[in-house]
């Protein structure tokens, strides 16, 4: 436990899970309710250690299921607390109905999702099928490429959630990020505490005037609530950028809605999560060899950073969109479908290659990225989609 005490302002070696636990420890969180599941387990265990050593001063509650974890966060947030949980895979699936309750009640709750495949078949390894199953539950969905970004985004998530009254999830790839040790430049406790402050006062169960939450809304009003929620989510990008900007002043790190490498290249690979690093390294090599390839790595998925994405399309001919999840029977994977509807909406034509890859922990190596880039450079003008088997 004590080993973490001395590393607060230094560059330290942490796994993604540990980095998230430190972010929570530093962020004046009042309530953590969680249930263990691989590969999120270490987040919960570290927070329990911090609570035992006094380094974390909020409440840690080991509940009996993820459904209870999210329910407890909802109760805590309703009572005015800053609440956090973490989960993965089946745990997120079990929370499903409460995810909608959290967002519909406009509660500022933060969650880390250690992305893992869904059963069946049983698999504990990384892909994005868990989060994609919940993508329409009304949560802001952010993605980290590495442990440090997960740390930064979790700290920011509290400010964002409390400013826009929406719950925020930070996704980090299971094992690839949760269990790999990486250098993380942690900010000092004081700096983080100052940045996150205390949750602003809001309507809660704890003020003087008794009120009741979660009442019935009939057909005359329900859709108004939903439109309101939809506008709040779409419009939350402005606030997220502000929070990111403020954090950048403190840390020198501004992750933003997306990271572009090789701006304006003919072929752009569109990615979510840690494999973007592999694609970028490959693109750099290929670019040095004179090839026109680049990478767009999305840090926000909800709200979808429409304007920033469209700006990145200048000079691009082919978008190779990389999905680590399947939307069975749909025209393309979830990320590809998002991008294609965006293109259609703004009347923009680009060649789209929708690739499904990396399911259930299947790897993605530099040679895989190169194979795909080469394929995209040569392929014809119309839409294509296929499953790609890398990582051999």
């Amino acid at each position: 436990m004590a080993q973490f005490e001395s590393v607060q302002t230094r560059k330290s070696l942490l796994t993604g899970d540990e980095a998230v636990a430190h972010a929570v420890r530093q962020s004046n969180v009042d309530l953590v309710a969680a249930y263990p599941i691989t590969p999120q387990t270490i987040i919960v265990e570290r927070i329990a250690d911090f609570a035992a050593s006094g380094a974390f001063t909020g409440q840690f509650v080991p509940v009996e299921s993820e459904h209870s974890a999210m329910s407890a966060c909802i109760g805590g947030a309703l009572a005015g607390a800053r609440a956090f949980t973490a989960t993965a895979s089946q745990g997120l699936a079990l929370m499903h109905e409460m995810l909608y309750a959290a967002s519909g009640l406009r509660l500022p709750i933060s969650m880390a999702i250690a992305n893992r495949a869904l059963n069946s078949p049983l698999n504990i390894h990384n892909d994005h099928t868990d989060v994609m199953g919940s993508i329409d539950s009304g949560w802001i969905q952010l993605f980290a490429e590495n442990a440090e970004e997960a740390y930064d985004r979790v700290i920011q998530s509290f400010r964002i959630a409390e400013a826009v009254n929406l719950p925020v999830a930070v996704n980090l790839d299971g094992f690839t990020l949760t269990h790999s040790t990486e250098p993380v430049e942690m900010l000092s406790d004081e700096a983080v505490r100052g940045f996150v402050g205390r949750p602003p006062k809001r309507d809660s169960l704890m003020d003087e005037a008794p009120k009741s939450f979660g009442l019935m809304s009939l057909p005359d009003s329900y859709q108004f609530f939903k439109e309101d929620q939809s506008r709040a989510t779409t419009g939350s990008g402005v606030t997220i950028s502000q929070v990111e900007g403020e954090y950048a002043k403190l840390s020198g790190r501004d992750h933003g809605p997306l990271k572009i490498f090789g701006s304006g290249s003919k072929v752009m690979m569109v990615m979510l999560g840690s494999y973007a690093g592999t694609a970028r390294t490959t693109a750099r090599q290929m670019k040095n060899g004179g090839e026109q390839v680049g990478v767009i790595s999305l840090g926000w998925l909800r709200p979808f950073p429409e304007r920033q994405f469209l700006d990145a399309l200048e000079g691009v001919e082919t978008l190779m969109i990389m999905d680590r999840s399947v939307s069975y029977g749909a025209p393309a994977g979830p990320l590809a479908s998002d991008v294609m509807s965006l293109l259609y909406r703004y009347g923009i034509k680009r060649k789209v290659i929708a690739v499904t890859y990396g399911l259930g922990g299947r790897g993605f190596l530099e040679e895989d990225a190169m194979k795909l880039f080469r394929y995209a450079e040569k392929s014809g003008p119309s839409f294509e989609s296929f499953f790609f088997y890398g990582g051999e």
């Binding site: 263990p36 387990t41 250690d49 609570a51 080991p62 009996e64 299921s65 049983l122």
Partner: protein
């Protein structure tokens, strides 16, 4: 029937010394003693070290989702009441995340036999607090000692109206086999709580050996509800055996049969395929 009939080709992935080996031996022994052919047995499990069980025995098996093996077992039993349907899972699975299912299966007196490998810890996820972890127990999610009272599954189930409640110890597979046989012969729902120590994260072997005694040696009357409750609440010693048994209540499946008749079931008794029935099936579905 020989125990060999239930041998699987897959070797258990449990740690050497894990209590679950004893449970596996006892289940095979019980099935063999009762002469139940492997193809008439279905074992439903959840997620956990213990829930890997169906892979290590040659019967039908379903390794499902964490906490959910009981409703799956009920579906199987209702679809084909002729099958012997067992649930094998851990304390986290059965007494925590999925406990609600047990309460209702017991209340309905569903004819399924639930064998819980209770190690008072989450083994598979490497040692966190479980619903049966003790007060003050130090685990990875209770580093300062647990401040949550443990669940008493036996008292809870006896109180809930369960018609068969027993406790065994994985270190006594013969006695455990006897309990499982009685559970299988019982008319309706049965819980067999098995103290099955996790040698890696929370080893209770010595403690169980020191504190255990057999109810049947003390003249316990399992049809006496209050005696059963008293035994379930005993704290100084660890009683093993059949705590409670009520043979007067018909099972849900029996009552369902009475209400809707026999003809509504989709299935008959499962017989092994011979070449003739295989040909008939091919013809029917071609």
């Amino acid at each position: 029937m020989s125990i060999k009939a239930y041998e699987s080709d897959t070797r258990p992935d449990w740690c050497p010394g894990c209590g679950d080996f004893g449970v596996l031996a006892a289940v095979k022994d019980a099935l063999a003693a009762l002469n139940i052919p492997p193809h008439n047995v279905v074992i439903s499990s959840g997620i956990g070290c213990s829930s890997n069980f169906p892979g290590f025995i040659k019967t039908y098996g379903f390794h499902g989702l964490h906490g959910r093996p009981i409703p799956v077992a009920i579906g199987i039993k209702d679809a084909n009441p002729n099958l012997t349907v067992l649930v094998t899972a851990g304390d986290g699975d059965e007494y925590g995340i999925g406990f609600n299912h047990m309460i209702h299966a017991a209340r309905r007196n569903d004819d399924i036999k639930v064998i819980v490998m209770n190690n008072e810890i989450y083994g598979l996820t490497t040692g966190q607090l479980s619903p049966t972890s003790r007060l003050k127990q130090v685990t990875k999610t209770s580093p300062s000692g647990s401040i949550i009272y443990p669940l008493n599954p036996l008292a809870a189930l006896i109180g809930d109206g369960a018609t068969f409640v027993a406790r065994g110890f994985s270190g006594q597979p013969k006695h455990l086999s006897m309990l499982i046989q009685e559970a299988i012969k019982h008319r309706g729902f049965a819980l067999v709580d098995v103290l099955s120590p996790c040698v890696t994260w929370y080893d209770i072997y010595d403690e169980v050996r020191k504190l255990m005694y057999k109810l049947e040696d003390k003249g316990h009357n399992p049809t006496d509800f209050y005696a059963a409750m008293k035994a379930a609440k005993e704290e100084e010693k660890l009683p093993l055996g059949i705590f409670y048994r009520d043979e007067t209540k018909p099972s849900f499946q029996e009552m369902l049969k009475e209400q809707i008749g026999d003809g509504r079931w989709a299935s008959k008794s499962v017989t092994p395929l011979n070449s003739e029935t295989l040909r008939e099936l091919e013809y029917e579905f071609s």
